[in-house]
Point group: C2
Chain length 178, copies 2
């Protein structure tokens, strides 16, 4: 299954595409959508939205894995994160791509085996999981997005055999939001 | 000048269209976009986005006036407000409609002459300003959106004569965000 991970932010939105099949994961693409802070907010959100539509059209993911935030530095910062998240959500809905949300701890557990891994540990484990050279140059937002994609692809794979046992349960994994 | 006011919320998004010209304001349209809380968030945001695109196409406003929030009950509620705001911002950017943001106090001052007016006072003043019967049935979110439209239309009109004196200043009113 091909998954697009998205780590939304008003300044930088990371994205990462991963194929998960058989016994492992395969890197497909990753990068960061950067917006100009001097541009007005509607223009920047439209850019995130349009770029994500282009990425969905190019890579045809079967699912979009989005970071679910529970905390923010302050209310203003929560408004900004919400705005960037919506740009991704609307793009997913427009292309009919199912959206799944994962809290940071769950993403860390899925790549680094524990929920308290720091940024550099997550980055190294993402590169190792995808058989990429440890010195590969990726923006931190891109490796975070790859981790989100791995997190969902791994869960979807784990859930698949269960479908033969309990089809209802497999159809509605507990982290599914949409 | 025709202004579309939008009061965004994930459950109910109010909208109101007002023409401001000469000595007064004229009611054009108002209503509320209601989303089903049982539907997934991406679907609901796409609905707000799509409905606002339809309203922009139908009424061809020259400006979109959006409520600028400074407070929220909590961080989760700020995320939700940010998401709904983005649906309006992206629609405005897609149609090239300039967006202006006003804090609630400024909106209240523009319709009720003071910043501490309660909901029912704002509603009555909006109906009086637009020469609508006081018993007119409007959702509270619709009259809030009409107040936002009046707020911007009034400011744009006040700023207009200044353009002959100081063109630069009139081109960039202080509340303009985009």
């Amino acid at each position: 299954m091909r998954v697009l991970g998205v780590d939304p932010g008003s300044a930088v939105t990371g994205f990462g595409v991963v194929d998960g099949a058989g016994g492992g994961f395969r890197y497909v693409s990753a990068g960061a959508i950067r917006t100009d802070s001097r541009e007005p907010a509607p223009f920047r959100l439209k850019q995130i939205h349009d770029d994500l539509l282009g990425i969905i059209d190019e890579f045809q993911p079967e699912a979009l894995s989005l970071e679910r935030h529970f905390v923010a530095q302050n209310v203003q910062s929560a408004f900004r994160i919400g705005e960037a998240r919506a740009a991704a959500m609307i793009a997913a809905a427009e292309r009919g791509v199912p959206l799944f949300e994962y809290p940071p701890t769950e993403v860390k557990i899925s790549v680094a085996a524990h929920g308290h891994a720091d940024k550099s540990q997550v980055r190294l484990m993402v590169l190792r999981t995808l058989h990429l050279h440890p010195a590969s140059e990726f923006a931190a937002d891109a490796t975070d997005a790859l981790a989100l994609a791995i997190c969902h692809a791994g869960r979807a794979r784990a859930a698949a055999p269960a479908a033969t046992i309990d089809r209802r349960r497999a159809a509605a994994p507990r982290t599914r939001v949409r």
